[in-house]
Structure formats: C-alpha cells, structure tokens
C-alpha cells in the first residue's frame, strides 16, 4: 500500500514537469468558472424578469383592490378585470444549481403570463431570441463535462500504454523486475485522480458562483453533479486505457478514441434525437395555428351578432353598453375556442412526455447522453420539471378562469375581499426522492460499464504482447 502511494506521488511529481499540463488544468478551471458565471447571469436574467412581472402584477392587484373599495366601475367588473386589465405571471420554481446546466431552460418558458382567456393564448408564447444562439447551444458547465472533459481524459491517457510501450519504458520496467501492469495502473490512477480533483474543484467553484441557498437539496444536487461527472470521467479514462492497450501505436489509440468521442458525444446522441423524433413525431404547430383559426371562426360565428354590436374587442367604442352581456359573450367565445384547442394542446404535452420516455430508454446507448440527462435532471432543466410546471399552470389557469367566469355569469361585482381571494399558484418543486431514483440507475449503469472496462484493461495488461509489444527487443514469438 505504502509502495503504491509512493509510486503515485512520484508519478504526480513527474506530471508536474509536463509543461503543458498545468495550463490545461487551469484552462479547465477557468472554463468552468466562466461557464458558471455565464449560467448564473442567464438564470438571474430570467429570474429578474419573473420577479419584475410578479411585483408589477401584485401592485396592480393592490391598486384594483383600493379602487374596488371606493367603487370604481372597471375594478368591480369581473369581465373587464379578467379579460382586459389583469394578467397573472406564474413562474417555475427555481432549482439551486440550474445555472450549471441550461438544458431546455432556454427553450421552454420559465414564466407564463396568463389571463382568463384560453390557455392557447399564453402556452405557445416564446421569448424573442437570437435563433443562431439557440442553434449553437450554451457554454454551460454541463457542456464542459459532457463534451470537453472526455477530450481531456483522452489527451491525458491515450498513450498510457501505447506511448510507454513505444518509448520502451514498459520493456525497461519488465527488465528491471517490476510489474509493468502495476506501473501502468499507477500512471492511470495518478492521471485520473489529478483530473478528478480538478474537476471536483471546478464544479464546486461553479456551484458556489450560483450562490444557491445551501439547503439539503442544494448539497444533494451538488454531490450528484460531482459523482456523476467523476463516474463519467472514470468511464473515459477506463476506455482510454483499454484502447491504448489494444492499439498498435499511440497514434492509432488517439484516432480510435477520437472516433469513440465522436460516436458517444456527437453522433449517438444526435441519432437518438432523430430516432426519438421519428418514434414520437411532434404534432404540427402549423396545424395548431390552423385549428385555432377555425376554432376562433366557429366561436365568432356563434356570437357574431353580439360581437358586431360592440366592434370586435372594442367595448370602449360603445358608450352606453351592457357590460355583462359583452363579457358573457367573451366568456362563451373563449370557452368555445378552448374546448376545441384543449385536446390539441394536450397532444403537445403528451408528445413531450412520450418523447421524454423514449429518451429515458435510448439514453443508455451513450454515456454522453446518460450523463447529460443526469446533469440536466439534477439542475431541473431536463424538461421534466418544465412539464410538471406546465401541467400545474394548466390546472391553476382553470381555477383562475372559474374565479372570474362564475362572477361574470352571476353578475356579481368584484369586491376588495375578492382580490384577496384570487387563486394562488404553487409551483411544483424538484423532488429529491424522484431525482435519486432517476439518477441512481444511470449512475450505476455507467459505473458498471466503467468497472467492466477496467476489468478488460486489467486482462489486457496481463498480456505480455500488450505490455512490451510484439516487436520489442528480446521478445521471442
């Protein structure tokens, strides 16, 4: 044991002499820190928008309440408030380390501003964005772990056997009576531990930059991030060992490992995406638009006479109007449109869930996909939390609509107390138990795969040809 530690220490001392190494490791640290800062700024920006919207809505409710107390007509009209004055922003619950993996947080909305009109009016709304940026993806910590870390592992270990063999070091070790296999393992461990240590420090730093509230959940998520990243790193290091041992030269090892990286990190995930999209094709947004049009038309025709009397959406143009009749017609129209749109919107939600299910199975095709899914799940940006949030918003929206429509139908004016009884939205939180269950199996699978690769590597290292090469001096065949 002591001897092993000594060898490890001397190997680390040797690594210190490699001039490029500190720079690579510092580069990794800096990249992670930059990604952490960038992720935090993105999340902060989203949160600030949500907070502003929420404060503004609260101020509006307070002011309506005051107006209702003094009997101002608009604030007492449930129709005017529901359809023209008040909109309610609802926001997805923040997760402690969401800045580490932006995932689908960029595409799926964190905030909806709903009114008593149909759900289709807000569910499809997206932020105006630079589409080229969305196409390029984010430089977040998850990207560095999934894409860049394997490249570093390959760079550190592609020649761990092949290179030493080419330089004759393994032959010298055998001649000196040492175990070449042990020599390789120590070298492997030294490099893996160094990378693992830097990765851990970098993730902790990036995590600290997010300034989460240090609850048990935050600690659990950070631990999950570190363990998942280290197991993924171990997988690539083990793969590098096996490939390096099996390759005829360090060049061949590097080429094969580059191929493996391309396959596991680029091609298989992209093909998985393609397969998921083919198995569960997305419903058509164009069809959704056409259906909305048709639904609007049907609803309009049903109440055309009333609508024309007030000019579409311009009750203000009618001086002495029957507000109740107008808003009843709006409510009926909205209900008619919603009845037609609801199944289609449900189809989109169902499609997203089905795609998630397919991905959950197909993710085992590549450690890259597996790790990406685990990290985004830990950060709450894998789409599942968004789906839960969306479902909760749909339920809340029904309560919101009901609150006003009931009063419009019964012609009950809003009171100051009513403004205090407005439905309150409770955002679904990240479920630690569910997270544990969903991240444990991928983690164990990758760990098993890594152990298998280490086992194969050990077997290879017992083979003399692998250690000293078929053409080394003194080897009789």
């Amino acid at each position: 044991m002591r001897r092993s530690v000594d060898i490890l220490v001397s190997e680390l001392a040797l690594l210190r002499r490699e001039q490029i190494l500190p720079w690579v490791l510092v580069g990794l640290l800096l990249a992670m820190v930059f990604a952490g800062i960038s992720g935090r700024m993105i999340v902060n920006e989203q949160r600030m928008v949500a907070v502003e919207a929420s404060e503004e809505a609260r101020a509006l409710v307070d002011s309506l309440k005051v107006q209702a107390e003094v009997g101002a007509e608009t604030s007492r009209s449930p129709g005017a408030v529901a359809y023209s004055v008040l909109s309610q922003p609802v926001t997805k619950a923040a997760t402690p380390l969401e800045g580490l993996a932006i995932g689908q947080g960029d595409l799926l909305p964190d905030t909806y501003r709903l009114t008593a009109r149909g759900a289709h009016t807000f569910l499809g709304r997206t932020d105006p964005e630079n589409s080229l940026r969305l196409l390029s993806g984010n430089f977040d910590v998850a990207f560095i772990v999934v894409w860049v870390l394997p490249l570093l592992a390959i760079g550190f270990l592609f020649d761990v056997v092949a290179g030493e063999r080419e330089r004759g070091v393994l032959w010298l070790a055998v001649v000196a009576g040492a175990s070449a296999s042990r020599f390789v393992w120590h070298k492997w461990w030294a490099r893996f531990l160094l990378l693992a240590a830097v990765t851990t420090v970098a993730i902790v730093l990036a995590g600290l930059i997010q300034q989460p509230a240090w609850t048990a959940t935050a600690a659990y998520i950070l631990a999950g991030w570190i363990i998942t990243s280290l197991v993924y790193l171990a997988f690539w290091c083990a793969l590098a060992l096996v490939v390096s041992a099996g390759a005829g030269s360090s060049e061949a090892a590097a080429t094969r490992l580059a191929g493996a990286w391309l396959a596991f990190v680029v091609l298989i995930p992209a093909v998985t995406n393609l397969i998921a999209g083919s198995i569960v094709p997305s419903p058509s947004r164009v069809e959704l638009t056409a259906t909305l049009r048709e639904a609007t038309e049907q609803a309009d025709k049903a109440i055309a006479a009333e609508r024309d009397r007030w000019f579409f959406d311009h009750p203000d143009l009618q001086g002495d109007m029957d507000r109740r009749a107008y808003y009843l017609s709006v409510a009926r129209s909205e209900a008619g449109i919603e009845k037609i749109m609801a199944p289609l919107l449900q189809e989109f939600a169902r499609n997203a869930r089905d795609q998630q299910r397919v991905i959950e199975v197909l993710k085992y095709l590549s450690p890259g996909t597996l790790t990406f899914r685990s990290l985004t799940a830990l950060s709450g940006s894998d789409g599942r939390l968004h789906a839960g949030f969306r479902d909760a918003v749909v339920v809340y929206h029904r309560a919101w609509q009901e609150f006003f429509v009931k009063r419009i139908e019964s012609d009950t004016p809003l009171t100051a107390e009513d403004y205090e009884r407005l439905p309150i939205f409770v955002a679904p939180q990240i479920d630690r138990r569910e997270l544990l269950v969903s991240s444990l199996i991928p983690l164990l699978s990758m760990l098993a795969l890594t152990c298998l690769l280490c086992f194969v590597g050990s077997r290879q290292l017992r083979n003399a040809d692998v250690i000293i090469g078929a053409h080394s001096p003194g080897v009789s065949r």
Binding site: V49, N130, R133, G137, F139, R285, T289, K301, T369
Partner: protein, 469 residues
C-alpha cells in the same frame, strides 16, 4: 511530378483502413440525413402550403362583417419551407413558422419547431450541411495528419526531398491527392442534392446550390491546407493528430458556444413579457409628445375643419375608420421602435458571432451556408418584414372601407367577400440571391483571410521543407 505524388497519395489514402471506415460512416450518416431531411422538407412544404390555402379560404369565406371585426380576425402568414432547407435547415427550427396579422399589433413569428424537439436537440441535428461542416473535416484531418509528420519520423521525407522534389511540389502533390479522396466522398452527395433540388423546384435555386458547392469545396480545400500545414510543422504524427483534433473540437463545439454566450451577455434580448409591457407603456404614452387621445382629437378637428362641420354625424365619412387609422399609425411607430431595438440587439450578438468566426472558419461557413440555403436569420426577417408590410396595407384597406362606405356611428355596417378578396393574402417571395450574398460580407472576409493565411504559411513551410527535409 506533382501528378505522381498526388496519385501515390490518393492510392495510399484509399488503401487506408481508417479512410474506408470513416467513408462508410460518412456515407451512412449522409444517407440518413438526406432521407430524413428530404422527407421532412416535403411534409413541411405540403403542410404549410395547405395551411396557407386554408387560412386564405377562411379569410375570404368569413362572411359579412364589419371590416374592423375582420381586421381583428386577421390573417396568418406561414413561412414556406424553401427547397434548400433539406440541405441546411439553418436556424429554422428556432424561428416561429407563422405570424398572426391582426389589427393594431405587430406579432412576431410563433410556433417554433424547436419547442417540440426532444431534450437531446442540443446535441445537434444531423443534416447534410452539418455532416459537411463537422464530420467531413474530421475525416479529412484523420487522413491528412500523417502526410508529412509520419514520413519525417520514418525518414521517407528526407529520401523524397533528396530525390530532387521541391517542397512546393510535394505540398501541392499531397494536397491534390488528398483533395481527390475527399472529392470522392463529397461529389456523390452534392450530385444527389442537385438532382433532388432540380426535381423539386426546377432551376430557381440552382445558382444558390452552385455557390453552396463552391463554398463547401473551398472550405474543404482550406481545411486540407491547414491539416497539411500542421502535419508539416509538427514534430511527430502524434502531435499533428492531437493539434488537429483540438482545433477541430474547439472550432466546432467550443468557440461557437462561447461566442453565442458572449453575445447574449453583451447584448441581451428582452423577454416576451418585458417587450410586451414596454410596447403597452409606449402605446399609452403615444408618439411625438402627444397622447393617442390627443392625436385622435386633433385629427377629428382637422376633419371637421376640412368638411366645415361641427359634429361627427355631419361628416360624409365614418370618422371611426380614420380613428382606427390613427391608432394604427401610433402602433406602427411604437412597434417599429421596439422591433428595431430587438433586431439591433440580435445584430450585436451576430456581430460577436461573426467576429469569433475568425477563430473558427466553420462558423463562417455555417453563416454563408444558411444565407445561401434561405434558412438564415436574414431570411426569417425578410419573411417577417414582408408580412408586416402586408398587414399594414391590409389594415389601411379595411379602415378605408369603413371610412368611405359608412357614416359615423354606423356600427351595423358590413362588408362582404369582395372586400376580403380585394385585400388579398400575404405571399412570401424569397429575396434575390444578391441580397443574400450581401449579408455574407463578414464571413466571406474571414474565409478569404484564412485562405490567405494558409496559402502564405503553406508557401513558407513548403520552402522550409526543401531545406530541412
């Protein structure tokens, strides 16, 4: 001599197991990309054409209505799928496909296909352009990295130079030989793409396709030059391979993401909510220092003076049509202001992206490829701007009808299908090729600079090869 070297290099590459394996993978992926993309293009194209016809029919058959009711009912503009989208889908998945053209409001395109993509979409979509931009360069550097470095290690390079071959001849010979191998992979793909393009859209997009072919051949030549350069200066083949792999990974995966994030941090775009609230505030305040109601009142007084009357009822026209027009004038100015600011923010992000392409020629190629394929942000803007111009004309037509054909206070006024037909529908006409190329100035400059750099360095290295061997 150059031909001899090129032939030897070509044969050697062709016999290389790595090349065969990579070529097989390339052909398989290209076939998958080609099949899925052309299927998707056909279904999208049919769907959008059908939807556009459907809403056009709904518009004409909406029945008798007050024109302003029809204005609120509005029209929809669907972005058609352009033929070269099957080659390079560009940013289309991240842009909305339809715009609601309604009274008083400028809406931005809604219904982004990306919103319904699987959570793995960030790993990239396999399109033919993606394969040519990302995978083919990898194959290219895998076959090119040992060209000089391995020969130097084995001592063959010294022998070759001793036989009287100049560095320039050797460099050029290897370049031609390896180019032939890469062309062998590229040309069938390009040929099939041309066939599909001509069979689906005739010759309309042929010039774009020819320029795309030139672009990708240029890109391959540039990368091949870079790979040979690295191989020629690297101490060993191993170093050459590692350097080229790092350049490839950085250029394709790291630099674009960093550039995109820097752009976002430097020039953020507003959220939909913030944009909407800012527009609503400005609409309430009005323009030219006048509130909307003051502006409407001023116009009313002008009309009363013009027609020498004192009440709306005495006017020979319906003042409500004029008021709608004034409201539209105000909203047009306000929307223009906010949409211009939004576009300016995106433009600043694009500037950063273009500037970063100096570190990654792939980014420059990506930008030019999207422009030539009709799938860039510029094309999306052209679609949206065209739709907005149409919306304004549509609203003017409907307001004019109210103004001229009814009297003030006549809310029961109805128009019929004749007016809806006269108003027409939005038909997107893609811009001319010249307009797309005009947006490619920066990325093309980057590619020219890279080419000059590689030619210059290649010339210097070739001269050095002659003396060092």
């Amino acid at each position: 001599m150059i031909i001899d070297i090129a032939t030897k290099e070509f044969r050697q590459t062709f016999r290389d197991g790595r090349f065969r394996l990579a070529a097989t993978l390339f052909i398989m992926l290209a076939a998958i990309a080609f099949f899925t993309a052309s299927q998707r293009y056909q279904s999208l194209s049919a769907e959008r054409t059908r939807a556009q016809q459907e809403v056009a029919l709904q518009w004409v058959e909406q029945g008798e209505k007050n024109p302003h009711s029809a204005a609120h009912y509005g029209q929809y503009a669907f972005r058609p799928a352009l033929p070269l989208a099957f080659f390079d889908s560009g940013v289309q998945a991240f842009e909305g496909v339809s715009i609601w053209l309604e009274a008083h409001k400028r809406n931005y395109a809604a219904g982004r296909p990306a919103d319904d993509m699987s959570p793995l979409a960030s790993f990239g979509e396999i399109s033919i352009a993606y394969i040519l931009q990302v995978l083919l360069p990898l194959i290219l550097l895998l076959i090119a990295y040992p060209s000089f470095a391995a020969e130097r290690e084995s001592g063959t390079l010294r022998q070759v130079m001793a036989s009287g071959v100049t560095g320039g001849q050797l460099f050029l010979g290897k370049f031609v030989g390896l180019s032939a191998s890469v062309l062998l992979l590229m040309l069938p793909i390009i040929g099939i793409c041309f066939l599909v393009l001509v069979s689906t859209s005739g010759a309309t997009w042929l010039a774009h396709a020819v320029l795309l072919s030139v672009l990708y051949l240029w890109f391959m030549a540039l990368l091949l030059g870079l790979a040979l350069l690295v191989s020629a200066v690297a101490s060993t083949a191993r170093v050459a391979l590692l350097v080229l792999l790092v350049i490839w990974a950085l250029g394709n995966f790291v630099v674009p993401r960093i550039a995109a994030d820097m752009g976002r941090l430097a020039s953020p775009t507003p959220s939909a909510d913030a944009l909407l609230r800012a527009i609503e505030n400005d609409l309430a305040v009005g323009i030219d220092g006048e509130t909307p109601s003051a502006k409407i009142e001023k116009r009313r007084r002008q009309l009363h003076a013009l027609y020498k009357v004192s009440t709306d009822a005495e006017l020979p026209i319906n003042i409500q049509g004029v008021i709608f027009g004034v409201q539209d004038e105000i909203s047009d100015v306000v929307y223009d202001r906010h949409f211009s600011a939004l576009e300016a923010a995106v433009d600043r992000q694009l500037d950063i992206f273009e500037a970063a392409s100096i570190l990654s020629p792939r980014m420059a190629v990506m930008l030019v490829s999207q422009e030539l394929s009709g799938t860039s942000i510029g094309h999306q803007r052209q679609f949206a701007d065209g739709a907005e111009a149409f919306r304004r004309e549509l609203m003017k037509t409907l307001n004019r009808d109210i103004t001229l054909n009814s009297r003030s206070g006549d809310n029961a006024y109805r128009s019929s299908a004749d007016l809806w037909r006269e108003a027409g529908e939005y038909r997107f006409v893609p811009e001319q090729l010249g307009a797309s190329i005009a947006r490619c100035g920066a990325p093309l400059t980057v590619l020219v600079l890279w080419s000059l750099l590689i030619c210059g360095l290649g010339w210097g290295v070739a001269r050095r090869l002659g003396t060092v061997g």
